[in-house]
């Protein structure tokens, strides 16, 4: 049996770990709250934007736009969105696994794949395993629309120049604090818009446009990409902090369990020591009485 002193040391070590995990849990909780607020704030923008885009798409022949051009997919690019920091349970692992599976499927079909990585964890993992042509790291702790614009700009231009044929975005969809679902969406060619939406009759105002519908649509489609990327970023950030919150909560309660069982052990050891000492004294007095 370990000595009393050893167990005591272990208990205090676990107690310190528990303090750290609890602090991380609280930090993640407050960050999670703020990213949830951002998601809420983003909703009116996205909603209004989709209304206008759809109603515009109904009037204009959308198929002519280069971002909607369907080509035989030979060259594929994948944007993989992970977090920058670890200690958030299976958040990154699950996403990386899904990405790897996807890459494997596509490369077995004989496609040429390049990877763009958002977030440090994905970059580190795929550094030697895939052809990374673009990366954004250490950005998720503080980001705004400009990040989404910079990512979008880097994928839009080469697509229009036909340097590649399809773009996929893989990110963790935020379901709730404990569930984040790795999701794969095809960004380019953009799925056709305005096809299966019912626009309210009263919303269908006759606008005049400035500049022309086509130019406006082109601009709105670019903004649409920004919106999609920004939403993925927001969900990643909320999901990361939610996952970290849950993971750290688990870690804290595991620490409590260990402390409990160690304390029990410690008490047993102490009692054993006392008993042994008593036996010694009793033995000693008996020996004295006999003598």
């Amino acid at each position: 049996m370990a000595s009393l002193k050893d167990i005591k040391r272990k208990v205090s070590a676990v107690q310190k770990t528990k303090q750290i995990t609890r602090a991380m849990n609280m930090v993640a909780a407050s960050k999670f709250k703020s990213s949830q607020v951002r998601m809420e704030n983003f909703r009116p923008y996205a909603g209004k934007f989709m209304d206008v885009l759809n109603s515009l798409a109904l009037r204009v022949n959308t198929m002519s736009h280069p971002l909607l051009a369907v080509r035989d997919p030979k060259k594929i690019r994948v944007v993989c969105m992970t977090s920058d920091r670890g200690l958030c349970g299976g958040f990154n692992t699950n996403l990386i696994k899904a990405t790897e599976r996807f890459l494997k499927d596509k490369s077995s079909e004989g496609k040429e794949i390049s990877l763009l990585s958002v977030g440090r964890k994905g970059r580190d993992y795929f550094r030697k395993k895939a052809n990374i042509i673009g990366q954004w790291v250490d950005i998720l702790s503080k980001f705004d629309m400009t990040l989404s614009v910079s990512i979008s700009d880097d994928v839009i231009a080469p697509f229009i120049k036909e340097e590649y044929d399809e773009l996929y975005l893989i990110y963790n969809q935020f379901v709730n604090v404990s569930v984040q679902r790795p999701t794969i969406i095809r960004l380019f060619p953009l799925p056709s818009i305005g096809q299966d939406v019912d626009v309210d009759a009263d919303k269908k105002l006759d606008y005049s446009y400035e500049p022309s519908e086509e130019i406006l649509l082109k601009k709105l489609l670019t903004m649409y990409v920004h919106v999609l990327v920004f939403r993925a970023l927001l969900e990643t950030s909320a999901g990361e902090n939610g996952a970290r919150m849950a993971a750290m909560d688990n870690a804290t309660s595991n620490c409590e369990d260990i402390i409990k069982s160690l304390t029990l052990k410690m008490n047993k050891a102490r009692q054993a020591a006392i008993t042994a000492e008593l036996m010694d004294i009793v033995g000693g007095t008996e020996a004295l009485a006999k003598g």
């Binding site: 704030n41 206008v52 920004f230």
Partner: protein, 134 residues
């Protein structure tokens, strides 16, 4: 007041402004335009520039980035990627951004992919500076 106009400025971060105004001036791609109540319904692209509106006889200035404006008879909805009110603009940052963009523009060729980006950055910085003076 009967001649009031609802104005909403929506950015991805938040609803920047929502309220009744008397008049709003928007930097459209085809030139600046003013909107009063009863304007014809139309949709315009918005460019980097200065947006201002009059509320309770006071003029408010915003520096805006690219987006669009949807105008109906009694409501204007502006969706833009960024909007900053004149007193929220960080002058030092804008000045630094302007210097950066100018220095970079002097170095690169006009057909460089970066040129357009830098030109936009410069335009943004200049607008932010001029709006922050107001």
């Amino acid at each position: 007041m009967a001649d009031e106009l609802m104005l909403e400025i929506v950015t991805p971060e938040k609803m920047t402004f929502s309220g009744k105004v008397e008049e709003v001036t928007i930097p459209g791609t085809e030139g600046e335009f003013g909107v009063l109540r009863g304007h014809e319904a139309f949709l315009s692209s918005v460019d980097i520039g200065e947006l201002n509106f009059i509320q309770d006889n006071k003029k408010a200035h915003y520096s805006v980035n690219t987006g669009y404006a949807e105008v109906t008879a009694n409501k204007v909805t502006i969706l833009i990627e960024t909007a900053e009110r004149s007193d929220h603009i960080d002058k030092d940052r804008a000045l630094k951004a302007k210097d950066n963009a100018e220095a970079r523009l002097a170095q690169i060729a006009k057909d460089d992919v970066e040129y357009e980006k830098m030109r936009a950055a410069l335009a943004r910085a200049i607008v932010r500076l001029s709006v922050s003076e107001k």
